[in-house]
């Protein structure tokens, strides 16, 4: 099987689906001739032409709003927001329009659209090129939210997202783009939205996480295994719909849960996961439901020492797991 990078999996999924389905098209800033500032749409304009790989004006609300109109008409737009931080001007179109189109029309209109956005930090992006913005949207019914951690998951989940009949926010961790390579089938395959994945089986402590933190947690787990602590790692993969069964099962497995995310703690998505566990798996718990997250500051600074202080890493995660294991 070919071994490809996380970002190549993005490109491959889009390209395959554009080849298969004429209603799919891409729009965003610099996605055409330049192939995206991260190069996620590299080469697509040559394959599919500039009408289907559209360089838009610098206007996020328009990128999403035009996408909504095209989706309602019957196409399947894939909108790129250049950095997740710049999704903010499009929040009205996403929350008031895309998320509510089906509900408000009593099911007569729909909005089958993917909004891709590179998020996350650790790449010297400073305050506005590093944010995790998923929590802004997890409380908005009508949206689906996907946060893959591996190239294999990227391809399968992106194909599902494009084929989904609801608006999907597809958040790609930009530090993973070229960090992680994986065996990825060149044929098409889909991974259903709403299915979490056990990335490591273990018996002592359960870690529930997603995105870059999956890898940091697996690193931590490897180290802890040497200390005799056996870590169970659940990768949520899609936040909405949440795989509640998988969360509860992973909780029952060890009775001790640590939720890890790069987003800041207060009202991060970990709160919802913790709340579900506290409500529905309370009697299976042997210890408090813990969260390890970034600090509650408005995003990570540019200075590398400050950035490092902000970011979680395998050591910090290992320490938190250790603490829980010892309880």
């Amino acid at each position: 099987m070919p071994v490809i990078s996380y970002i190549d999996a993005v490109t491959e999924a889009i390209s395959e689906e554009m080849g298969r389905d004429k209603s799919v098209f891409v729009l965003g800033e610099d996605v055409g001739v330049r192939g995206g500032v991260f190069r996620a749409t590299n080469g697509l304009i040559d394959l599919y032409g500039e009408d289907r790989v559209l360089d838009t004006p610098l206007t996020e609300s328009a990128i999403v709003g035009v996408g909504i109109g095209a989706a309602a008409y019957g196409l399947r737009p894939i909108a790129e927001i250049q950095f997740a931080d710049f999704i903010m001007p499009a929040v009205n179109q996403i929350v008031s329009e895309a998320a509510k189109m089906r509900y408000r029309s009593n099911g007569t209109w729909q909005c089958p659209m993917v909004i891709r956005a590179p998020y996350g930090g650790g790449i010297h992006g400073a305050l506005y090129h590093s944010q995790s913005v998923e929590a802004l949207f997890t409380g908005v019914p009508g949206l689906k939210i996907v946060t893959p951690s591996t190239p294999y998951d990227v391809k399968g989940l992106l194909l599902s997202s494009i084929r989904d009949n609801d608006p999907v926010l597809f958040f790609e961790h930009k530090k993973l783009y070229r960090l992680i390579k994986d065996e990825v089938p060149s044929e098409e395959y889909t991974i259903p939205l709403g299915k979490a994945d056990v990335k490591r089986e273990g018996n002592d402590v359960t870690v529930i996480t997603y995105g870059l933190m999956v890898h940091y947690t697996l690193d931590a787990a490897k180290k802890l295994a040497e200390e005799g602590i056996d870590v169970h790692v659940l990768d949520l993969r899609t936040l909405i719909p949440l795989d509640k069964e998988a969360v509860l099962e992973a909780t029952r497995k060890t009775g001790k849960v640590l939720i890890v995310h790069e987003d800041n703690k207060t009202s991060g998505f970990g709160a919802e996961v913790a709340a579900i566990i506290a409500e529905e798996a309370f009697f299976d718990l042997d210890a408090p439901v813990s969260r390890l997250c970034s600090p509650d500051v408005p995003s990570m600074p540019y200075n590398s020492k400050l950035e490092k202080a902000f970011m979680l890493n395998p050591e910090k995660i290992a320490a938190a797991i250790r603490e829980l294991a010892e309880l």
Binding site: F25, D51, R52, T56, P57, T59, S61, A62, V64, G65, V66, G67, I68, G69, A70, A71, A72, Y73, G74, L75, P77, P89, N92, Q93, S96, E97, K100, M101, R102, Y103, R104, S105, N106, G107, T108, W109, Q110, P141, G142, K144, D164, N165, D166
Partner: protein, 327 residues
């Protein structure tokens, strides 16, 4: 005669009037029902019917699209909705074609007639219209999209992004701004620098045309040219139709706190419905009997619509959670 110069038959002028009158009478009746405590909320088209019918009449009702705003009762009636549809919506009944009773009245949306579902936050629909127009370009359809909003709404960011996007890609959209002199209580002078929406067209590389919105023929004429340009791929047009809001902003408003009775009375003299009625009279385009019969037929239609809607089923509370997502 003006209408013959425009290529309109006598019959067509009577049809225009019929829809204007239907809109007016449906609207008036809703106020009565509101004051009688039967409807919680009304928002009106009164004073803007000439604009709405003049504009929509220039479209191809078999293939063109509407992204209207909450005052565009005239447009949606002309496109196919009925008095009964309006009453089902006003009473929020299950068979309301717009939303199954989920949205406020005048939040139009009807797949049968290619009227895209709209929301309350103003101006979002301009971008959807651009998206539908773009979809036509990609799929090779030659539909034209008419989208409209109030002059106050023309100051929203989305308005700017929509006109620019359509301008860059020469898309078949007509942007109609229904200038009724007020945004709720805020008069034109405090809303709009320059107090002239049409002047903005130039900044988007498109014609910006200001017409008397009380003159159905003037509106029809510029709209017809705009539709022809659009259909030929020559790009979008901005039309500002100036009239006056004859009612309070909505049934929750008390407009005498910010404008005078005299001003309203003065405006009523230029009421587009009255102007067209006078035209029909003066050019003897109908007999007194025909005129009378038309009015009566409409009254009957509305009375029956109310009876039907009052007796119609409410939506089932168990369906509250339907249509959040597909399937």
């Amino acid at each position: 005669m003006k209408h013959l110069e425009l290529g309109l038959t006598d019959e067509q002028v009577r049809e225009m009037y019929r829809y204007m009158l239907l809109a007016r009478k449906v609207d008036e009746k809703m106020w009565l029902l509101n004051r009688a405590g039967k409807l919680p909320f009304v928002v009106s088209c009164q004073g803007q019917e000439a604009t709405q019918i003049g504009a929509a009449y220039a479209l191809d009702r078999q293939k063109d699209w509407l992204c209207p705003y909450y005052r565009d009762l005239g447009m949606v009636l002309l496109f196919g909705q009925t008095a009964r549809d309006q009453m089902l919506s006003a009473f929020a009944k299950k068979d309301d074609p717009n939303s199954g009773g989920r949205q406020m009245p005048n939040h139009f949306g009807d797949r049968r007639y290619r009227i895209l579902s709209g929301s309350s936050p103003v101006t979002t629909q301009m971008l959807h219209a651009v998206g539908i127009a773009y979809a036509g370009k990609v799929t090779g359809e030659d539909h034209v999209v008419l989208t409209s909003c109030g002059e106050g709404s023309s100051n929203q960011g989305d308005w700017h992004e929509a006109l620019n996007f359509a301008g860059v890609h020469d898309l078949p959209v007509v942007f109609l701004v229904e200038n009724n002199m007020y945004a709720i209580s805020v008069p034109l002078s405090k809303q709009l620098a320059g107090e002239n929406v049409a002047a903005r067209g130039q900044g988007y590389g498109m014609p910006g045309i200001r017409v008397d919105g009380n003159d159905v023929f003037q509106v029809y004429e510029v709209m017809k040219q705009a539709v022809e340009r659009a259909r030929k791929g020559e790009g979008p047009t901005l039309i500002e139709a100036v009239s006056y809001r004859l009612t309070p902003h909505s049934s929750d408003d008390d407009d005498l706190t910010y404008r005078t009775k005299e001003e309203i009375e003065e405006a009523k003299k230029r009421d587009g419905l009255f102007v067209l009625e006078t035209y029909l009279d003066e050019h003897q385009l109908w007999t007194a009997d025909e005129k009378e019969a038309l009015s009566k037929a409409i009254d009957t239609e509305i009375t029956e619509a109310i009876k039907f809607a009052e007796a119609a089923d409410h939506p089932n509370p168990e369906d509250l959670s339907k249509h959040v997502y597909a399937g």
